[in-house]
């Protein structure tokens, strides 16, 4: 198994692990092993930003009342989330997805030229991790007015087409710095869209 073949399937196996051939390549190849370590580290750190699943509101109300009865706390005013500090788990997940996209894009841009990127357009037929992130973004804006939702739907189509074209360009000429730059900027556009969805969904 070559590095290119391994990295093509990496998005699907990074969480679940690969088959025997893929695991053997990971043991033998320092470049791919370092890549997997770096991506797992980023994902692990990002998960720390995601709050644990909240218990039922009745639990919090019960705790609040108990503390008030004991005189330990006063009745708290209604809290509103701050801009950029989302209150819901899915919003954090969208923000984390934006960070992971940028991390992957940064790796794709700065990878050694000796190990060319080979994410063939054939992979478009298989669902990717980012497809699920796109669905999460659309869910984030589902409660907004129809014209706002359609803005995000069309925006996702446009940036995904950008990413697809840029990937093909890098595949055709891995040594072209402009091609890599286009791919990086395509991912940056997508990360921007994710971030704006997070703000709009508050």
């Amino acid at each position: 198994m070559t590095c290119a073949e391994f990295q093509r399937v990496l998005p699907y196996i990074i969480d679940t692990g690969g088959n025997a051939e893929q695991e053997q390549h990971l043991r033998e190849c320092a470049v791919c092993s370092d890549l997997v370590q770096d991506l797992r580290y980023i994902a692990d750190q990002a998960k720390l930003l995601v709050p644990m699943e909240d218990p039922s509101p009745r639990v919090w109300e019960g705790l609040q009342k108990s503390l008030e009865r004991e005189g330990l706390v006063k009745a708290a005013p209604a809290r509103r989330p701050l801009l950029g500090a989302p209150a819901h788990g899915w919003q954090w997940a969208v923000a984390v997805a934006a960070l992971v996209i940028l991390a992957i894009a940064s790796f794709l841009l700065h990878r050694p030229e000796a190990a060319p990127l080979s994410m063939a357009t054939g992979s478009q037929s298989q669902p990717t991790a980012t497809d699920q992130d796109d669905q999460q973004v659309l869910q984030a804006v589902a409660t907004l007015p129809p014209d706002v939702r359609s803005t995000y739907e069309q925006g996702l189509k446009d940036v995904n087409a950008y990413i697809s074209d840029a990937r093909r360009s890098v595949d055709q000429d891995p040594n072209d710095p402009d091609a890599r730059e286009f791919l990086m900027q395509a991912y940056e556009q997508k990360a921007m869209l994710y971030q704006m969805a997070t703000h709009s969904g508050e």
Binding site: R80, L83, P145, D147, V148, T151, Y152, Q154, G155, D158, V159, A161, Y162, D165, A166, S169, D176, D178, A179, E181, F182, Q185, A186, E188, Q189, M192, L193, M196, H199, S200
Partner: protein, 285 residues
């Protein structure tokens, strides 16, 4: 008789019109808020629906005039020293369809941050940092200097004019970006489909970087502009109608009709225009 009836009819019509107008404005509330601030103040406005206008004024005070469409919406101001936060708060879900208008007058060195989904956003005569974001908000920023300007939108139109000594970063998915007399150490524009138009002389010996996926890039510059320019469209066209001195030795892979590199005058500013599939045009202003 007819004349008197016509006059009475006219009076009734005018009275009805005035009544409609009165009903239209009865629900609206205009509020005026004043905040004392020191040098280098920071103002943040979050107003999802409605226009936001920011102008420079008093050096020690922020004046906020808000027009509320009904009593179902309020403004939540929070001030900590010279840091001011203004947020629109809808008391009922249905009230969010009606726009709230903000008009701010701030010190010229104030840093301004605006979030308005629908906009429009207008900012003028500010020397502090400017940040504006809106899904479909049209943005008009002009006569600003010395600050960082960050504008982000999905499909709004961005108009930026008379910007000097600025660090400019603009990102738009499909909205057009129009730059007139924008210069500074760094000017960066990124779009996916949005068309980019630049009119100016790329001054200040700066770095100018415009990249699109499929949006066209149109540049018009005076013959005295001092630039070191490179143009490339991967699958689109490059049309040059400016008297550059072509560069023979360049890191850019030169393909006739798809790329070009050259200099004008002293080659003071670096200008990179890139599009994946759009058309790039450069001509004399």
């Amino acid at each position: 008789m007819v004349t008197r009836m016509w006059n009475q009819g006219t009076k009734l019509a005018v009275a009805a019109l005035l009544g409609f107008v009165a009903v239209g404005v009865v629900g609206q509330t205009r509020k005026e808020l004043r905040f004392n601030v020191g040098p280098g103040a920071n103002v943040n406005v979050v107003n999802d629906f409605g226009p936001v206008t920011v102008r420079s004024g008093s050096s020690s005070q922020v004046l906020v005039v808000v027009t509320l469409p009904s009593d179902q919406v309020e403004i939540d101001p929070t001030q900590s020293g010279s840091r001011l936060d203004l947020r629109t708060h809808y008391l009922q879900p249905g009230a969010s369809s009606k726009p709230v208008r903000y008009e701010l007058t701030v010190p010229s060195d104030c840093a301004v941050s605006i979030h308005s989904s629908s906009g429009p956003i207008m900012i003028e005569r500010i020397r502090g940092d400017i940040t504006a974001e809106g899904d479909s908000a049209n943005m008009d920023v002009h006569d600003v200097s010395n600050g960082h300007v960050h504008l982000r939108t999905l499909k709004g139109t961005i108009n930026l004019s008379n910007v000097s000594d600025g660090h400019v970063e603009i990102s738009s998915v499909s909205g057009p970006v129009n730059l007139i007399n924008v210069s500074g150490p760094r000017v960066e524009v990124r779009t996916t489909n949005g068309k980019v138009s630049y009119r100016g002389n790329f001054a200040s010996n700066g770095d100018y970087d415009i990249t699109t996926h499929s949006g066209d890039i149109d540049v018009a510059m005076p013959t005295n502009a001092s630039t070191d320019i490179s143009l490339r469209s991967v699958t689109g066209k490059v049309e040059n109608d400016f008297p550059f001195q072509p560069k023979q030795h360049t890191s850019l892979s030169l393909t006739n009709g798809r790329s070009f590199a050259g200099t004008s005058n002293q080659g003071g500013s670096s200008v990179e225009l890139r599009s994946f599939s759009g058309t790039i045009r450069v001509k004399k202003q």
